[in-house]
Symmetry: C2
Subunit: 154 residues, 2 copies
């Protein structure tokens, strides 16, 4: 019940703002951009935590983690506007139709990602590379959780 | 002299990390993504600060400002890899050749943008919409400062 109220409030907030006016093709382009730019930052973390730990750099890790958290916090849900279930942004969207219908499952993967991404920024700030590697893995799992459910294979 | 030493250190840091391995077409794609996703967030701020002040929402303003600051802090300079002066990411790059040669001018616009973007996040956190509108204008000017100098017209 509570989550339904939150969803209703959220829908109102989005509909009441200028966000609702983003065209489907722009919305697809913006979300593809957000995910692509995050993937660059995930790649930087992977390089310094997994592939080549000698290249670990605390400031760069913080910068990458903050970008990932800020993206998670940016309200990308608003970019899944009606009509953006198909179509081309930078390229054809790979979103599955279920993302627009299965709100409970969407809420679950979105909240999981949000939680792990914000934790990533917190752990990065401590400078503990080993802990960051563990948390990086959790973020990767959260990404995958959504991809498996809501993204078509290429 | 000092700035030359910093540049040299920076170049070494980049060359020594996995970042140097980003292919030109991927580098162009990542930077286009970063700018496009920032522009979505600038658009959200414009909507609530300029176009429709009644829609101002502190939490959404903070989220947008944090994304812009995190992008500014993410070290996008590393995406201007050799060979990425021409070519296609999501689309043909609009970068001017001067960006790869005029290091002093690049440093100036990059530092100006970084300063204003981080200030944006600080001002957003205060919840002062009028002050945020002023700072939003300064970020826009900093964006334009780089576009005018280093981006070709479409």
């Amino acid at each position: 019940m509570k989550s339904k109220i939150i969803l209703a409030l959220l829908a109102t907030a989005i509909a009441g703002s200028a966000l609702a006016q983003v065209k489907p093709e722009d919305a697809i382009k913006f979300r593809q951009s957000g995910y692509a730019f995050m993937s660059w930052n995930m790649g930087k973390l992977k390089a310094m935590l997994v592939d080549n730990p000698a290249s670990y750099n605390k400031e760069q890790a913080i910068a990458a983690a903050n970008l990932i958290a800020a993206t998670a916090n940016s309200g990308m849900g608003a970019l899944y506007v009606p009509g953006s279930d198909k179509g081309k942004g930078w390229k054809e969207t790979r979103v599955k139709p279920e993302l627009f219908t299965d709100r409970d499952a969407v809420g679950k993967v979105a909240m999981a990602f949000n939680k792990e991404a914000n934790e990533l920024a917190k752990v990065a700030a401590t400078g503990d590379a080993a802990a960051l590697k563990v948390q990086f893995g959790k973020v990767g799992e959260a990404c995958k959780g959504c991809h498996d459910k809501f993204r078509k294979d290429e």
